[in-house]
Symmetry: C2
Subunit: 145 residues, 2 copies
């Protein structure tokens, strides 16, 4: 999947230009997620990370997301009809609010755990949950900044 091919379909070595390598890109990605303090899409992570580490590739972002999800240090936040966003786990349990106007997702505090437990139908075992509120965020309601 890399380098040029000769007439026989074989890879010609050494045809790829050198790329500036960066190590421990993972730390850059983690920093981006920590500083944002709200769920980000892979593309948003890429943009922010590239500002700190030019040349960082999208594949590294996805691989890091996958690794951290496996470790449990990152959690996915799903919004209907949109790409998943991700945020550092280990924070206090919380939920999210998405603005219909600007699409941004915000963390919100509090959780009606007990009330949700009551919704669980008989025969089902409840393990976790997710709540997403939708509406309009302060900037988009036209409030003065």
């Amino acid at each position: 999947m890399n380098g040029e091919k000769n007439h026989f379909g074989e890879t010609v070595p050494g045809t790829r230009p050198r790329a500036r390598r960066r190590t421990r890109q993972r730390s850059v990605i983690q920093r981006v997620l920590l500083e944002a303090n709200r769920p980000l899409s892979p593309q948003a992570i890429l943009l922010a990370a590239q500002a700190m580490a030019p040349g960082l590739g999208i594949a590294t972002v996805y691989r890091t997301i996958h690794t951290m999800m496996t470790e449990g240090t990152l959690v996915a936040v799903g919004i209907p009809g949109e790409a998943a966003r991700y945020e550092i786990s280990g924070k206090e349990h919380h939920h999210h609010f998405q603005c219909r106007e600007c699409d941004a997702v915000f963390d919100i505090q509090g959780c009606p755990t007990d009330d949700l437990a009551k919704l669980t139908p008989k025969g089902f075992r409840l393990e976790s949950h997710q709540v997403v509120l939708y509406g309009v965020c302060p900037p988009c309601t036209g409030m003065p900044s």
Copy 2:
């Protein structure tokens, strides 16, 4: 995007084999969604619909989904890290439960509306919400059928 092209890049008419046409595929798709009575992915809708109407294409599924969403007769249900699923709206307000084992999504009754309203931070305007519970469904807990 269709038919064969000549050496000048022009479309050669009549090169596409005839397709069996079905009309009002929309009604087929609606029926699939109604009978399932739980959120389905576009691919799942396609499979079920093709059983009733062979030759029905994926494009029609997506177009119908888009039309119905615009009308408000269909709503998207988002699950983290997965493709959106869709279900007929107009039912009573409700939420969802996803089984970790088999990935199926079920409707559940009840909604702690007031409790959720209390979570809304100052300055935000709440318009709607979504709750997803995760766990294990009865068949997957190893219960006798």
